[in-house]
């Protein structure tokens, strides 16, 4: 892949922008179109582009498969723990209003944390799938 200068240069410019856009979709999802799932997919798209251009060995040096497994499991746990916290605070499962003193703040807080969990799980699972598939091609 080292011969493709244009691809490498363009990818190096694009990947940070894609990741930044993913973060924008993640945190803007509360008000506009977007949210954790979409942000996770965009984030994964940026990282998959890195795999395609530089090879998975390079990407794996930055993000290992083990790390992806941990992040994807933690995302689910983060989601569920928000639900459990609202239960402990006296509301029903996933009632965000009880999370903070002010119900509106609580709703904001709940949805942001939950979408973070979703985003982390989606991005890491997609990237892990690509790792596992490309590994098969190489061997």
């Amino acid at each position: 892949m080292y011969s493709h200068v244009i691809l490498r240069v363009v990818a190096k410019v694009l990947i940070p922008v894609i990741v930044l856009f993913a973060l924008y979709v993640q945190f803007h999802g509360e008000y506009g179109p977007g949210g954790g799932f979409q942000a996770g997919a965009i984030m994964a798209a940026g990282l998959i582009l890195h795999v395609l251009i530089f090879g998975q060995r390079v990407t794996r040096k930055m993000i290992t498969l083990r790390a992806l497994r941990i992040v994807s499991a933690c995302g689910v746990l983060l989601y569920a723990s928000v639900g459990l916290t609202s239960m402990l605070k006296g509301g029903n499962f996933l009632n965000y209003s009880v999370l903070a003193a002010n119900p509106v703040t609580g709703q904001h807080l709940g949805i942001i944390v939950i979408e973070l969990g979703v985003g982390a799980t989606v991005a890491s699972t997609l990237l892990a799938l690509i790792y596992i598939f490309t590994e098969r091609i190489r061997t």
Binding site: A73, V76, A80, L84, S86, G91, N92, F93, L94, N95
Partner: protein
């Protein structure tokens, strides 16, 4: 206490990612087992609450019912939840030795994670009162099932899991299309709300199409003849503990979904009087009972033999619900619970055989009656229950089914039920004959399976006899559930 309805789904769902993170060894197994036992306690408590207070309702996120997702629990789903919890609490302790023998060491944590996901998905299907939520949980449990089935040592496990993936996805998609059409007609996804709004649009072509998609989709997942082709291979090549779990609960939960949609959402009057569903389901059920039992007769592999028998048993359940009577529905729900106990104990016994012999081919089981007396005794006891010998649970459910059929004077159906039972005598006898009356030709002799596997197997075998003698719990709950379902309203 009021959170039990959601905790029973949430605890296995939460433990699954934790299992995946734990190192291989005892820990993932221990966590999974504890999760299953805690759901058993919760299922019993919930059944008690339903008994005391009637139908329970839980609003997720405190959003009121038709808008938010509602978990709704009455006798019908409380019974199914109890079955799920019992099976998981027995299979997961058993899985420790069995999975260590049949799976690579590094796959252990993911194996328990997938088992818990399968379990919580099925639990979610029974817990929810929201039609779309059923689809979501259906996908959770199905994806976990595909992964689990593919873990089998035999390379054919991969193709059989892939085949189930295709068929299962078609089924789930049909189900989703059906729900989508119902939503387009009524603008609601809550089952109770759907039941109220659907009569206004009954008889339209959209509605008929929706019912067709729903019924075909669900029947694909519950392996009703002739949509059963994915099942035999999937059960045969999967790891033993997975087969025991999936065979005992997956198809049963789908029978529950069929009952819930036909009786609660669509209403018995619409499903059976305005649409000819009773006739269609009845014919397919009877054909499934007879042909699958006949095919089971000459299967060389004992697991495959029991897989075909499962298709026949699903026929009994669908026959019961297609009678559209209170007694028929009672028989269907009873057989759902009882057959879960029967099939699980039989597959657990075969898992013990696989553990020592390394195969479940019928001819490799020669002489096992002497070499593994406890395992084979468990198989015989489970087999008697499958046939429907008095004192066992199989007898109770067949008794109610025959009563329900006689109530409507369908003498031919009684003959079909008895024929199918006779065929099951024949196929169980084939295994028993080889195990007890043929000498072991090869030199190697097997020892009895380890206690860690025998004890769970025997707990289920004894449950077969206990619920065959003391039917207060099962029959009482099934009758209450049936009268509530027939009476309309969830």
């Amino acid at each position: 206490m009021e959170h039990l309805q959601v905790l029973i789904v949430l605890i296995p769902l939460l433990c699954a990612p934790v299992c995946a993170l734990l190192p291989s060894g005892r820990l993932p197994w221990l966590l999974a087992t504890l999760a299953a036992w805690s759901t058993l306690a919760m299922a019993l408590l919930l059944l008690g609450q339903v008994h005391q207070f009637g139908t329970l309702s839980y609003a997720l996120g405190d959003w009121a019912a038709p808008w938010g997702i509602e978990y709704r629990l009455d006798f019908a789903n409380a019974l199914v939840q109890l079955l799920l919890a019992v099976i998981a609490s027995v299979v997961l302790p058993y899985a420790y030795r069995s999975a260590r023998r049949e799976l690579d060491n590094d796959k252990q944590p993911s194996f328990y994670a997938a088992m818990l996901l399968l379990f919580s998905g099925l639990m979610g299907i029974t817990a929810t009162g929201d039609a779309f939520n059923v689809f979501v949980f259906l996908e959770i449990s199905s994806l976990a099932t595909y992964a689990l089935l593919a873990l089998g040592r035999d390379r054919r496990a991969l193709t059989s899991a892939f085949r189930y993936l295709i068929m299962g996805t078609v089924g789930a998609t049909f189900f989703l299309i059906g729900i989508g059409l119902l939503y387009s007609m009524t603008g609601t996804l809550n089952m109770a709300d759907l039941a109220e709004r659907l009569p206004a649009v009954a008889g339209t072509r959209t509605m008929d199409t929706a019912v067709a998609f729903l019924v075909v989709g669900i029947c694909l997942k519950l392996a009703l003849f002739p949509l059963h082709l994915w099942l035999p291979n999937a059960y045969t090549y999967a790891p033993s503990a997975v087969t025991a779990m999936v065979a005992a609960i997956s198809t049963k939960v789908m029978v529950y979904v069929l009952i819930r949609f036909l009786y609660t959402v669509l209403g018995a009057d619409y499903s059976f009087n305005q649409l000819p569903l009773a006739q269609v389901l009845m014919v397919l059920a009877v054909m499934g009972m007879l042909t699958a039992s006949a095919v089971a007769l000459n299967q060389p592999n004992a697991k495959r033999l029991l897989a075909y028998s499962s298709i026949a048993q699903v026929g009994y359940m669908v026959l019961g619900l297609s009678l559209a009577s209170e007694l028929g529905l009672t028989a269907s729900l009873l057989h759902m619970f009882n057959h879960g106990l029967i099939k699980c104990s039989l597959f657990l016994a075969l898992g013990c055989v696989y553990f020592r012999v390394g195969s479940t081919d019928v001819e490799r089981m020669a002489g096992l009656g002497r070499a593994m007396p406890w395992t084979m005794a468990a198989f015989v006891a489970g087999g008697l229950s499958l046939i429907g010998v008095p004192l066992t649970v199989g007898f109770i459910s067949k008794w109610y089914l025959v009563l329900a059929v006689l109530e409507q004077d369908w003498w031919l159906l009684v003959v079909a039920i008895l024929m199918s039972s006779l065929l099951s005598v024949a196929y169980i006898w084939r295994v028993v004959e080889v195990a007890y009356f043929q000498p072991n030709k090869s030199r190697e002799t097997s020892r009895e399976a380890p206690l860690a596997m025998l004890i769970p197997t025997w707990i289920l075998v004894l449950a077969n006899f206990y619920f065959g003698l003391d039917t207060r719990l099962t029959v009482g709950v099934a009758e209450a559930a049936a009268s509530a379902l027939i009476g309309g309203g969830p």
